[in-house]
Symmetry: C2
Subunit: 191 residues, 2 copies
């Protein structure tokens, strides 16, 4: 699905259902962090004006999702708190190449892979979480995640030739499998 | 104007007019950084769910302004590049108190003061910059900056009693005067 090289195991869904409050709090953090990372990308590449409109559009949507999830938390009496990282994102980011334009391409492809994994997991939650309100929320959100995945891949394609970019995407998708396997088994979107 | 304790000197406008490309590039950075700082505030205070809706609304508007200014840069063949800081923001942030809830109140009031100074300077540019297109852009933007100023003051008021908050605002406004006086004399919004 969406270029991912592994399917999520049943144990992940069991953890997510067993501690749904922690999963939702993590989800709020994920949406906020996705918006922040979009802005960080623009800060690091100010000369790439062609990135501004598509990446700002993604940031707007992540902020809308963040607000939706925070509304869900408030309605359920849940208070977001800081959470320890699982190591998933750092496992991916440490494989980003240093020299340009490779670094920019990798940053875009890593963002695409994170969106892909979110989408895969939102789909599972939308079909199999016992709470019908949450199933509906995740069903609404997964469409945007799939679109963001495609947006980031397309932006990467605009920085180099398509064959090279997709070869690199396949390589980073293998890295993503190891990162998700090694992530701490916490009730999180990416664990 | 808007609680500021000093009016901008004529020399600032002369610098801004003399290097308008640098001013516009700085302006793009300012809008992006304002959105980033709004998200940083939410990241530092995840338990303050009451901040989410108003601060996300501000971040959306800053992103819209960022895109507007980047469009202006592209139309004028200007390429944004990294710029050295003037010391204005660090001059303000170093006066933020460490203990809570003082820290949160100060973070909100510092944000309010930066918006106020932007608003004052956008007003000068909207009236006195020789370029009519830029006068119109700054006129459009200064209304939002004034509203953001009021939003941040109101959020600070919600964290403590009104009299204490306004006493602190007057103190930080004096700090802001020194920060803007000591900022490097570059063609920037806050210099």
């Amino acid at each position: 699905m969406l270029c991912l090289k592994s399917a999520t195991e049943a144990a992940w869904l069991e953890r997510a259902i067993a501690d749904t409050p922690a999963l939702l709090i993590d989800h709020a953090h994920c949406e906020r962090k996705a918006a922040t990372q979009a802005l960080t990308l623009l800060a690091e590449y100010p000369e790439h004006l062609e990135l501004v409109a598509p990446v700002v559009a993604i940031a707007h949507e992540e902020l809308e999702h963040f607000e939706t999830v925070c509304g869900l938390l408030a309605a359920r009496g849940l208070t977001p708190e800081p959470q320890a990282p699982t190591g998933y994102q750092s496992g991916l980011f440490k494989k980003v190449r240093k020299a340009e334009p490779d670094r920019l391409i990798d940053r875009l492809l890593v963002a695409a892979l994170i969106e892909a994994r979110s989408c895969e997991r939102f789909k599972i939650l939308s079909e199999r979480h016992p709470d019908p309100e949450l199933r509906a929320v995740f069903r609404d959100l997964l469409v945007s995640e799939a679109r963001h995945h495609a947006d980031f891949v397309r932006l990467a394609e605009s920085q180099a030739d398509r064959v090279t970019v997709h070869e690199r995407l396949r390589h980073l998708a293998e890295v993503e499998v190891r990162a998700i396997e090694r992530a701490k088994p916490l009730p999180r979107i990416h664990s």
